[in-house]
């Protein structure tokens, strides 16, 4: 799938959100999108998913089956989890049982009879992921999929992404929390100043690429590590733990 010279703005006379975007999303590849809040990451993902039409440029080679999980799942709907997923399966021409493998894998089975508005943020996020995965999409677009997830699902999701990619799905993920950057062969792109630039794989934006950023090394008590990490991330900083088995 390829985006060629894509430019987008919401109104005809509004400011350009993205310009001169050239991006190739390889089949079976995982692309991580990084960038500051408001940089245009979600807009880029919507263009990729086909939910927005570029004002200029072309998007070619989009697979027929697209799965899209938004940053905030719309939980304000009068359905239970099971009924909602059955409806979304029907919209895709699938039986209600199509949701079963994904609800099991995302540990949603015990919530099937719960009404969507009663879900916690993390559980609602899982429903958003499940509906995106229903049809084994050829293109999977995930907008901040790790936000609010419990630790178990947060750890399981990268493996799920890898499995889908190995089956040939094209996957693009916006991930502030850097949970997939350790996956092998992840293509990384950075959204900044209205355009998209490639980054070296498994590397953070360098000081030159992300001017205005400084790398600090902070040592905290182990018992405080989670809380400090969460606070710094909530404040918009990129955090990587160096003393654990995996990057946090």
């Amino acid at each position: 799938m390829r985006l060629q010279d894509v430019a987008f703005r919401y109104r005809r006379t509004g400011p350009w959100i993205l310009r001169d975007v050239a991006l190739t999303l390889p089949s079976g590849g995982v692309t991580e999108v990084t960038g500051r809040n408001g940089a245009g990451k979600s807009t880029l993902l919507r263009l990729v998913a086909g939910l927005r039409v570029p004002r200029r440029g072309t998007v070619t080679g989009r697979p027929a089956r697209v799965g899209y999980a938004p940053e905030r799942f719309p939980a304000d709907q009068p359905f239970t989890v099971g009924a909602y997923l059955a409806h979304m399966a029907a919209v895709r021409g699938l039986p209600a049982s199509a949701a079963r493998p994904w609800t099991e894998r995302l540990a949603l089975d015990h919530l099937l009879d719960v009404r969507l508005p009663e879900l916690s943020k993390g559980s609602a996020q899982k429903v958003g992921l499940a509906q995106a995965l229903l049809a084994h999409p050829g293109l999977l677009v995930l907008d901040e999929p790790f936000a609010g997830l419990d630790a178990t699902t947060r750890d399981a999701l990268p493996a799920l992404v890898t499995d889908l990619a190995s089956e040939g799905s094209t996957i693009i993920v916006s991930d502030h929390q850097r949970h997939i950057e350790h996956l092998p062969a992840v293509q990384r792109v950075h959204v900044k100043n209205g355009t998209v630039t490639p980054l070296p794989s498994a590397a953070r934006p360098s000081a030159a690429e992300a001017d205005g950023w400084t790398v600090l090394e902070v040592t905290v008590r182990t018992t405080d590590a989670e809380a400090v990490t969460a606070e710094l991330r909530a404040a918009g900083h990129a955090v990587r733990r160096l003393d654990t088995r995996r990057d946090a």
């Binding site: 919401y10 998913a49 086909g50 939910l51 927005r52 799965g67 009068p78 409806h87 919209v91």
Partner: protein, 229 residues
């Protein structure tokens, strides 16, 4: 498509947003139709009511066509669009679901005038003409109201004012010399009040007018849906 229609209908009913238009229709039946038709009037009175019902329901149908697709949050509309695989399908599904609800409301409101017409000896041709006009008027009102959904006009206040203005414009233009630009509302009411024979005679041209008007509105929807925001 069918699954999206069912999804939209269930969301509209389960969220109880169907109640306001339903209550208004029940009020029309209780306050206008029941007293009006309970007198000793004959076939002309009953036939007149066959024309009055679509005219009274027209703004309610347009209101339903605005409200039903808006039951779904914006992000859900995005999810439905990716699942449906075609940008026109969610819009079409919203229109079909609204039309189904509107036919139900129309059937509810039309039951009493139809029963009265049958009881007073109105012939099957005039009855069929009344039902045909009801269906076509519901179609036109649905297509008109759908222009004011959140997908078309994001600001709720502007959308509501546009809906009101559109309904008033339809009524006023149907009185004017350029009445061919509007739904022939005053014409079908006049034909119905002129009696069964007049209604039967006028229905082919009224139906053609409504069909052309609805087609123009549908073409507009198709063009707008090809360029999602």
């Amino acid at each position: 498509m069918k699954a999206l229609v069912v999804f939209g209908l269930r969301a509209y009913v389960r969220s109880l947003r169907v109640l306001p238009p339903l209550i208004v229709v029940l009020l029309i039946i209780c306050v206008v139709l029941l007293p009006g038709l309970s007198g000793s009037g004959g076939a002309d009175l009953a036939t007149g009511a066959l024309g009055d019902v679509p005219a009274m329901l027209f703004p309610i149908w347009a209101w339903v066509a605005r409200a039903l697709p808006d039951t779904q949050p914006d992000e859900q509309q995005a999810l439905s669009a990716t699942a449906a695989r075609h940008p026109l399908i969610p819009t079409a599904a919203g229109l079909v679901a609204s039309f189904v609800v509107n036919l139900g409301l129309g059937a509810l409101a039309m039951a009493l005038p139809l029963a009265k017409a049958v009881a007073t000896g109105v012939g099957p041709a005039a009855l069929a003409a009344g039902v045909l006009l009801l269906v076509l008027a519901a179609l036109g009102a649905t297509l008109l109201g759908a222009y004011t959904t959140r997908a078309r006009i994001p600001a709720p206040g502007v959308s509501l004012l546009t809906l009101l203005a559109a309904n008033v414009a339809v009524l006023l233009v149907s009185f004017s010399p350029v009445s061919w630009l509007s739904a022939p509302m005053t014409q079908w009411v006049r034909a119905a009040h002129d009696g069964p024979n007049a209604l039967t005679a006028e229905t082919p041209s009224l139906a053609l007018h409504l069909l052309l008007w609805s087609t123009a509105l549908a073409v507009g929807h198709t063009l707008l849906s090809r360029h999602p925001r």
